[in-house]
């Protein structure tokens, strides 16, 4: 009963595939969120008076991008 056994048990459960699905599904949205939030912070810093509008638009964008990652999360359990 050691780490090798644990690794074998983990692999035998075949939940690894599910984790892989979610991991792959998170790559794109991760990059997208980075670009989106980075740009939003940049524009808020450049033009602080427009911060409210930028923040609202940013949250809408986050919601749209986040949906992709969450679809991966749901499908990981569905498969």
């Amino acid at each position: 009963m050691d780490l090798v056994y644990l690794a074998q048990a983990a692999a035998a459960e075949s939940n690894v595939g599910n984790g892989l699905v979610y991991g792959l599904a998170a790559i794109g949205p991760g990059i997208g969120l980075g670009i989106l939030i980075g740009k939003a912070v940049e524009s808020m810093a450049r033009q602080p008076e427009a911060a409210g509008m930028v923040r609202t638009t940013m949250f809408i964008g986050i919601a749209v991008i986040e949906a992709l990652a969450l679809l991966g999360f749901v499908l990981a359990f569905a498969i």
């Binding site: 050691d2 048990a9 609202t56 949250f59 809408i60 919601a63």
Partner: protein, 266 residues
């Protein structure tokens, strides 16, 4: 969950419930048998949180005063916040009309989600697909009917299917995409966003607490237990943030969809 139990066998700790399947976390046994209206723990939590929300708001606005008390000013802050969303997104003329609807969405989702971190409840009803489904379908019916009322049946669907300012040939590709995205994907993503966030959050909280429970013994696995104990406040604060953010996002996206129905895109 076998690895988890194997660890438990190796390092000790008391852990009774074998989490064979992820459904064990969400599928509560029926308490009152009423056919399709059976009551289980999730429904009881939903009743309780709805009751608390209704009580707080009733208490706050039963005899409103000009100089608000603590409770009244807290509830007024919530309504002001939602009114801010509505006026910002839908517009100062037509926005205030939708404040009651959006406030209902916001408060309902917030209180349902708060059950995730309430001691002795620790289960968000919104992690069952039924709650997000009903909320998303309500939002869908509202924004489609508002669109039909404001622009007429033909006008609204022409606006949906044929967005202006596009070369004619592109409509071959654009029309199906726009129709699917506006009529199917919008409510679907509204539903899945709330549902998946709550499911993931609940799993995270359960994993953290179970790890503390299993590993926090003077045995070789103690460092893992200490790590989980130190991580649990961070996890809880993060979940609190997610709870508020999801309520806000759902309200705001509903407002965005309504605003796209109220006035045609230019």
């Amino acid at each position: 969950m076998t690895p988890f139990l194997a660890v438990e066998v190796t390092y000790g700790g008391e852990f009774e419930g074998a989490l064979d399947n992820i459904n064990a976390l969400f599928d509560m046994p029926t308490l009152v048998e009423l056919g399709p209206l059976s009551i289980n723990r999730t429904i009881l939590i939903a009743f309780l949180m709805t009751g608390i929300a209704a009580f707080l708001f009733f208490r706050a606005f039963k005899s409103p005063t000009v100089v608000p008390g603590k409770l009244q000013s807290a509830c007024e802050m919530v309504i002001d916040f939602v009114r801010g969303i509505a006026v910002d997104i839908i517009g100062p003329v037509k926005g205030p009309k939708f404040v009651p609807l959006l406030t209902t969405f916001f408060v309902f989702i917030l209180f349902m989600n708060l059950a995730k971190l309430t001691p002795f409840l620790m289960l968000p009803p919104t992690s069952r697909i039924a709650f997000p489904l009903v909320l998303a379908v309500t939002a869908w019916v509202i924004y489609v009917s508002v669109g039909i009322r404001e622009q007429g049946f033909g006008g609204y669907f022409k606006e949906l299917a044929f967005p202006p300012g596009v070369p004619k040939a592109l409509y071959l590709i654009l029309t199906p995409i726009e129709l699917i995205s506006n009529l199917l994907l919008r409510p679907f993503t509204l539903m899945v966003r709330l549902f998946a966030n709550m499911v993931a959050g609940h799993i995270l909280v359960v994993i953290t607490l179970v790890t503390i429970h299993v590993f926090l013994y003077p045995r070789p696995g103690l460092p893992v237990g200490i790590l989980a104990l130190l991580a649990s406040p961070v996890v809880f604060i993060f979940e609190l943030f997610i709870i508020a953010l999801q309520a806000y996002i759902f309200t705001m996206l509903t407002a965005v969809y309504i605003s796209s129905s109220v006035e045609p895109a230019h």
